[in-house]
Subunit: 365 residues, 2 copies
């Protein structure tokens, strides 16, 4: 089974996106936003089948851990009420996708973060999504200001109430920023990668995982600059009298494979323990084109991982088992569906059920 | 000959560092700073011979392109007058090091940047350093606010007056931030790398090198996250309808080798054309410890490059010729010293003079 841990609903129906514009305009005009539109199942199917599902089928990806479009979270905009309503409708839409395609998607939620608002206030939406909608994780924005970095570091105690909720619910967070309003940064070209690198360094500098030994964070985009500069980070930990990264950080932190060329993927696997790598493609997302050098999509990260010819056990970890371990509620959902495919059982692609994914997608088109 | 393009005077005499503290205190108290102290040649020798020169000798580095301590530039602090005076005394101190050890160092200057002050005002100090002190380049801070990113992107026309001075003087800039006052960032652990990545993406998005075909920028720390995410940047250029990186950016942009482990260096050379890579170690600098896995200093980047077993021509490019090409005034200075070793002549380590550097250092100790 192949699970993509990092997919965003970047092709949501126009009515959804237009409502956000209306909500923003209403906030600017100090008016109430219009009612959220009725969106039909067919509109959702249409938005998914020609893009996300088609690409998953083409690439042999069975299931995507699916969350609202990250760049559209826009936590910097408006206030807590604006972010709360926007998060709710985005998450509800994800829940509908999951309901329509339960074999292909499982939900991860957007949080109603807002600059200056205590992160603990986001726990209610997390709870709703996990307990009522069956979501298995969340995207946590370390910079809700949108590129001005006005919050405290992720290791500050002000974040702790939210971590407590995460641990209680047994869900991980992907550390993921959103759109950027600082003209120095390009969202997917620098802000995302900078945030990944920034978060990792914050985790080196503090004892967050001593306080939360069960907290799990995914740092996306292959860990930003971290694997490429692994020696720098190891050296800084040493120089700052911090414990070794393997002991103090890498028990709780995971990187995805959203690195869009073979040499980068090679480095990631060369440097980072295979237990810390989750397959992901950030699809349909940041980079949508075809690499003229390979003839394949830049973000078809499965090809790069396949090229590594990992040992079968390692391959199963990266494509499935690590993600099931990091997202226990995903594992539980898959086990409930298919008791034989539980984490404890011996695994191989052939032995696992959901390579039915591709066929299933084909049927639906 | 082996040239390190990236060295900072991180071991400057205490009197120099103390004066900066006094200058800061005076600014805070709205008083004039005390006079700059007298620093003897012996104090300078002592600060250099046991650290920078010793390490250069040990590692077989002949010459370092040497600039004031980057993290101490502190452009965010004070005002233009404070930054101007601090840049002057820092650059004068570098000039004294070069005067004492002309075979081992050549100067690169700190600029008197200050948030909100036009960068064109920094041209005077650049001119002084190049024309009067014999410096061959400068460190240009894309974020003089110290981690709040309040300036315009490097491609904004507000930076053009300074680029005009650079082109006129035929000197490159290393894009290098300084200390950070935003608690989210660690200077050498995230702010430096983020700035590198940020600058590169800015250069993709605009036509700076159309306007300045002769402008040359070095992005340090191995280019931040860029080589690891080379596919992402290539894909983004394509998606944003920008020309290919090779055509629009890489004729003017160079990365150093400040990547502190073998897999990172392997990736750098795998992905980036050898003509765009300059040997550098950022020494004595960001990471000072010894890697227990190798028994060698993390920042002994020569070892990593040597391990690549580059073809002799490529090796000469990385260790010497690229840096001479990017810093024509360095090339001219070396040619003036040793006419036979000019860029045009066939090159090999043996054929070039300054592997006398190590012996020379030994003499001086």
């Amino acid at each position: 089974m192949i699970i993509d841990c990092h997919g965003h609903y970047t092709t949501a129906p126009d009515a959804h996106t237009s409502w956000r514009e209306a909500q923003r305009a209403a906030f600017g005009a100090n008016e109430a936003p219009p009612p959220y539109p009725t969106i039909s199942d067919d509109e959702i199917r249409e938005s998914i089948e020609g893009s996300q599902l088609r690409l998953m089928a083409e690439r042999g990806v069975d299931l995507t851990v699916f969350s609202p479009r990250a760049s559209a979270m826009g936590h910097h905009f408006g206030d807590e009420a604006v972010s709360t309503r926007w998060a709710e409708v985005c998450n509800d839409l994800i829940a509908r996708v999951v309901e329509l395609y339960p074999d292909n998607f499982i939900g991860v939620c957007q949080l109603p973060q807002s600059p200056g608002v205590p992160i603990g206030n986001s726990a209610a939406e997390l709870r709703r999504c996990v307990l009522e909608l069956g979501f298995v994780g969340c995207n946590l924005n370390p910079d809700p200001s949108g590129g001005h970095w006005t919050s405290a570091p992720l290791t500050d105690r002000s974040w702790y109430p939210f971590y407590e909720a995460m641990v209680e619910l047994d869900v991980p967070a992907m550390v993921h920023v959103s759109a950027v309003t600082n003209q120095n940064f390009h969202a997917t070209g620098s802000h995302y990668l900078n945030a990944d690198t920034t978060a990792f360094m914050q985790l080196i500098q503090a004892d967050l995982f001593k306080d939360f030994p069960d907290l799990r964070l995914i740092i996306p985009h292959g860990g930003g600059a971290v694997p490429y500069h692994w020696g720098r980070f190891r050296g800084l930990a040493d120089m700052l009298d911090r414990p070794a990264l393997e002991d103090a950080v890498m028990g709780n932190v995971f990187f995805d494979t959203c690195v869009y060329h073979q040499p980068g993927i090679n480095l990631l696997f060369d440097v980072i323990d295979v237990d810390n790598i989750l397959f992901g493609s950030e699809m349909v997302g940041a980079v949508r084109g075809i690499d003229p050098r390979t003839g394949h999509h830049f973000d078809d990260t499965r090809r790069y991982v396949d090229t590594l010819s990992l040992a079968p056990g390692d391959r199963a970890k990266v494509f499935e088992l690590n993600t099931r371990r990091v997202y226990p509620r995903l594992d539980a959902a898959l086990n409930a569906r298919n008791p034989k495919a539980s984490l404890g059982s011996p695994t191989s692609d052939a032995g696992l059920p959901s390579s039915t994914g591709a066929a299933h997608n084909a049927e639906e088109k």
